[in-house]
Amino acid sequence: MERSFKTEVDALRLGDGEVFRGEGILAVTKALLQSGVSYVGGYQGAPVSHLLDVLVDAEDMMAELGVHLETCTNEASAAAMLGASINYPLRGAVTWKSIVGTNVAADALSNLASPGVIGGVMIILGEDYGEGASVIQERSYAYAMKSSMWLLDPRPGLPTIVRCVEQGFELSEASHAPVMLELRIRACHVTGEFIARDNRPGRYSTLNRLPGPPRFDYARLSHPPVTFIHERLKVEDRMPAAQAFIRQHKLNEIIAGDLDDIGIVVMGGLTNAVLRALERLGLADIFGGSRVPVLVLNVVYPLVPEELTSFCAGKRAVLVVEEGHPEYIEHALNVELRRADLQARVLGKGPLPKAGEYTAEVLLNGLAAFLAEIRPAGLDPEAMAARVREIVGHRSVAAAALGELPARPPAFCTGCPERPVFSAIKLVQREIGPTHISADIGCHSFGTLPPFSLGNSILGYGMSLASAAAVGPNMDRRSIAVMGDGGFWHNGLITGVASTLFNQGDGVLIVMQNGYTSATGQQYMPSSAPSLPSSASGGGTGGGLAPRMDLETTLRAMGVKWLRKVRTYSVAKMMATLRQAMLAGERGLKVIIADGECQLARQRRLRAEEAEQLKRGKRVVRIRYGVDEDICTGDHSCIRLSGCPSLTVKPNPDPLRTDPVTTVIDSCVGCGLCGEVAHAAVLCPSFYRAELIRNPNWRDRAIAALRSRVIALLGGYAPNRTA
């Protein structure tokens, strides 16, 4: 894994009354242990990867508590694991990135929510929405509504988040429904503190196992005819039970205020931002007191009609601060007020935008617009609006003066094994013309960005091959699907490869075999290196080595006939293989396994090894690439075929030239792509590879001395300075 969580693991052991300090997502992890979970699992993805990572690092402690940990191969398998709570009083929690993970899990979730649960079930959703998000911008809310699962959206402070996790399990058990807890990106990474409680083992666990299955009960199956009963149970029993629990335990909060003819209904997760905006308008203090009454919905689904109507009674207007589209809460509030025949106006989308993140700027604008519309007694909305215009107007003035700044999107790391594959695709396209490229989720999606700009669609994790299924038959040229090994095991194996083979499809599939799910922090997956203990891959109980599932063997067993494995850095060979795959006469799926370990993971290992070797006086060869600045003419073709962070430009040392020259900076890891590309694309002779031998042995010294002496005799330099 990219990050070690040893310190965080210690924090997970804190007991009653001790102060936990750390990130939101780790506070959730601690709260799960305080809630007596029997099993946890999930699939990694920002912003919730750390939850699983820290649990993997905390395996010993998990064993002490008897908690079973499963690092699932996708969200569907994680959701299906929750099936344990249908029949048994086992508390369980899983996590994934939403909306995408919830989409993958949806089938299992429907089948889980229909019979309902006995043991409390908690799904931690990393709501990947707004700045920093990497997925489609949709709300998880719709899933809660359609499957009758409850959705918590706690105020982004650690004490509230922890309370919501603990009471969420109780809510789940009280209403027999799964509970989802959504945390936006910043809430996952918010730091803070809360007073910890002792961890407690589950009622049943790996230490205290269940005696056996219950008596056969058809009602626990999501199978007709009981599904018709389940549907009724959801609305007639479970929802009222949940609403009663929410009221009774005051999961939602009310901030009283003196301007009581207006009010704000806010999703819990946006509370701090709304309070800050009110504070900047002089309507709140820094300690959370507000002149405008605020209803904080830590539970955004189900809403509690009595809470809504009692908050709105006697008010002229309320503002619903509900991020994202559609505005489900605003709709529901309107319905409840009509049913109760209350006349408070409901504003939401209108003063606030229909789409996009509710940033500080958006909220200031929205509040000003709301106040200007409603004109509460005793306030001067014009003055406030003017103040907001002045604040917000600064941005456009500052930005206009600067002009458009060059974007700096994420990119392949220095030495990334996936970059050369895109260099090869770009070069082959020059020969055979443009090809349709189905991109996928993973680091390789950076191939869609400059300097490569390769990819025509991204349809989901592991879906690239499947999403090309109808393109190939309708196009003259074969299409290329790019997929990572992470995506392959997540989904691509079945939806892509099996489906293509079954349909005798044609096309090229490039599988990037880098050994980890790298984009999410280098977690292990089924084909990770064989020497990993099962604990690292999350197997948990067995001990020993987890079996490694080999990509090549798997593909051959499935019936792939045309299969090549190419080291990614060999650009010329990759080009030849691609050319062959694209132009081959025979129909059928052609798979190229692009083999190269994630460079981040590799460097972390190598650097430690090299430091150790150097310390012990052992021979170490350091390789880096360079550009001769007086040979480079500043055309930057090499950069357009690479984009490596270590390959950049600097002022031209030649006083006669103005265009900056290319240069290789110290962060170069010597992957060799520069040289390969210079050759494959017939660029320029500027590139060189330099190898430095630290702690040279007698042979190295002798050869170097001999060489420099002979060259000196020929009238040349003494390049190695050993003579």
Partner: protein, 556 residues
């Protein structure tokens, strides 16, 4: 009224340790019993992209709050940020453009070095964003600023930049946290020795900057270099090009940077500065304002070929100086042509490359760059892939012409290349390059030489013809030489683009088929278009537009 939180926005690039920096500030604030909260949006942005971290520190200790909890925000607001800390200068600009730097309250702490974004790097000429523009925006929008090259400080302290940034934060005194608390936070973490070094170096450097104005080391910071933001400078811009400032890029200066193109010991004085041969020494002064460039040109061509070749350069330039006078270009034409002519006459061929590859200064430079100790062997391998064109370029024309004709007819010219990895530090590698370098004296008899001289003469003739009509047009034509550079495909593409511009814009303008004033603009815009994309789409579009625009009197 109670105090407000102090808000800090950190702008950094993925992999620079912005998260660790945030953690240090959190730990230091917590050790002072101050309420503090941070958030970040790491996700996939940590893969070298731009990212931010946001911190709020409440200046009143918990013990004085008596159980009250300040509500801290998770995201920065426009006009609500006290301190922006940027690890790189474009990112400082991004924070300004985001509206987070305001004149009423924001202290901007930024490193002035540039790490170029991909769009800047991949341009075919110069795509770098104008640093002067960033500086102007910083000065206009920040209440105060603390600017220094933190990358240079980090490198000299052998530390990561995040520790230097923390030092600058401590030096600013804007947070109610003593330096000792930051040091304690560093000590509790990993690599504390290097980080403490970086922290102290950052603290000292920032204090120096804060004390003095303009701060020392300013020149080394790359600030105010004032490069044009446009990818192509207009030739009528002031012709003096500021010599590049060291440290503008994350890069160590190499010893050979200022060395001539090839060794030419005969022409070196005792100090190693290349001198001009006696009979040429007084020549450059004749060119007035252009003297420094002409001197450089002469020096280069003597090293490239010999004194006679430099004499040819001077003779050619004399014709241009004459045209300059006639056109009243006040020496600007001479200066531009002096620069381009020297570059065109020292065109890149295998002989020049071989000479550069075996220059002793190069070996020493690479070894120094790798911080090699004297007893540690350094091996250097070159990546060369000459094709038929390169091979023929050093043959006599009567041999080269039929080979090239055949190769072109059979379609070999773009396909046949010999990929070579030559180990320059080995005896055989050295001998191979030496043999190529020794071909220098046969160069004037080579095919490429003759082709180049013909092309140069044709270009000069166009400039001189243009100068009779307009100095501006002559300058534009001279500047088109910029398109012709590099090797292989790059050279071919550039030469073809130049030929297209000559055919479709320059010659029609000289012939009066395009009105003069429009012709000047047309040459300039075609040149910019030629450098816009390697596929030539922009140039084709530009030339089509020029051809399509109705000419006055075209109906006649």
């Amino acid at each position: 009224m109670s105090a407000r939180p102090i808000s800090i926005l950190i702008a950094a690039l993925g992999g620079e340790g912005g998260g660790v920096l945030t953690d240090w500030i959190i730990a230091a604030a917590a050790s002072c019993d101050l309420p503090v909260q941070s958030t970040s949006i790491p996700g996939v942005a940590q893969r070298t992209g731009a990212t931010t971290y946001y911190i709020e520190v409440y200046p009143t200790p918990w013990r004085e709050l008596h159980g009250k909890r300040p509500v801290l925000a998770l995201a920065p607001g426009i006009g609500d940020v006290d301190m922006v800390v940027a690890s790189e200068f474009l990112e400082a600009g991004r924070a300004v453009a985001g509206g987070f730097v305001t004149p009423d309250r924001t202290l901007l702490i930024a490193s002035t070095h540039r790490s170029h974004a991909i769009a800047e790097k991949m341009a075919m000429a110069d795509g770098r964003f104008d640093t002067g523009r960033l500086m102007g925006a910083v000065e206009k929008n920040a209440r105060s600023h603390l600017l220094l090259d933190m990358d240079a400080v980090a490198r000299s302290a052998r530390a990561m930049i995040n520790s230097v940034m923390l030092g600058a934060v401590a030096a600013s005194g804007r947070l109610p946290i003593p330096a000792a608390a930051f040091e304690a936070a560093i000590r509790a973490g990993k690599s504390s020795e290097a980080n403490l070094r970086g922290f102290r170096a950052g603290l000292e450097a920032a204090e120096r900057v804060a004390r003095s104005s303009p701060p020392p080391g300013w020149e080394g910071s790359g600030v105010g270099v004032g490069r044009s933001g446009a990818s192509v400078a207009h030739p009528l811009d002031p012709p003096t090009r500021p010599f590049p400032t060291r440290g503008e890029e994350v890069e160590k200066a190499t010893p050979q940077a200022a060395a001539p193109k090839a060794e030419n010991d005969r022409l070196r004085d005792a100090g190693g500065t290349p001198a001009l041969p006696g009979n040429l020494a007084n020549e450059p002064a004749r060119f007035g304002d252009a003297a420094d460039i002409v001197a450089e040109g002469v020096r280069r061509l003597v090293a490239y070929q010999d004194a006679a070749y430099a004499r040819l350069y001077l003779d050619r330039l004399a014709r241009i100086a004459e045209a300059d006078r006639r056109a009243g270009a006040r020496g600007r034409l001479t200066r531009e042509v002096a620069r381009h002519l020297a570059l065109r006459m020292s065109y890149e061929d295998v002989i020049r490359v071989a000479e550069a590859k075996i220059a002793p200064a190069r070996m020493a430079g690479i070894a120094a760059q790798m911080s090699a100790n004297p007893d540690e062997p350094v091996t250097i391998v070159e990546f060369l892939k000459p094709g038929i064109a390169e091979m023929c370029s050093i043959l006599p024309p009567f041999i080269a012409r039929p080979i090239i004709a055949t190769a072109e007819r059979r379609g070999w010219i773009d396909k046949l290349h010999w990929g070579m990895e030559i180990k320059t530090t080995s005896v055989s590698g050295y001998l191979r390059l030496l043999a190529l370098a020794r071909l220098r004296r046969f160069r004037p008899q080579s095919f490429r030489y003759q082709e180049e001289q013909r092309a140069i003469e044709a270009w000069l003739a166009l400039i001189i013809a243009a100068a009779d009509k307009s100095g501006a047009l002559a300058l534009e034509i001279a500047e088109c030489a910029r398109l012709i550079k590099g090797y292989g495909d790059t050279l071919k593409r550039g030469a073809a683009n130049y030929a297209a511009i000559e055919r479709d814009v320059i010659r029609p303008t000289l012939a009066g088929r395009i009105p003069l004033s429009r012709g000047v603009d047309a040459v300039a815009s075609a040149r910019v278009a030629a450098l816009a994309d390697p596929e030539g789409e922009a140039l084709a579009k530009c030339l089509a537009e020029i051809a399509a625009s109705p000419l006055p009197g075209a109906e006649r």
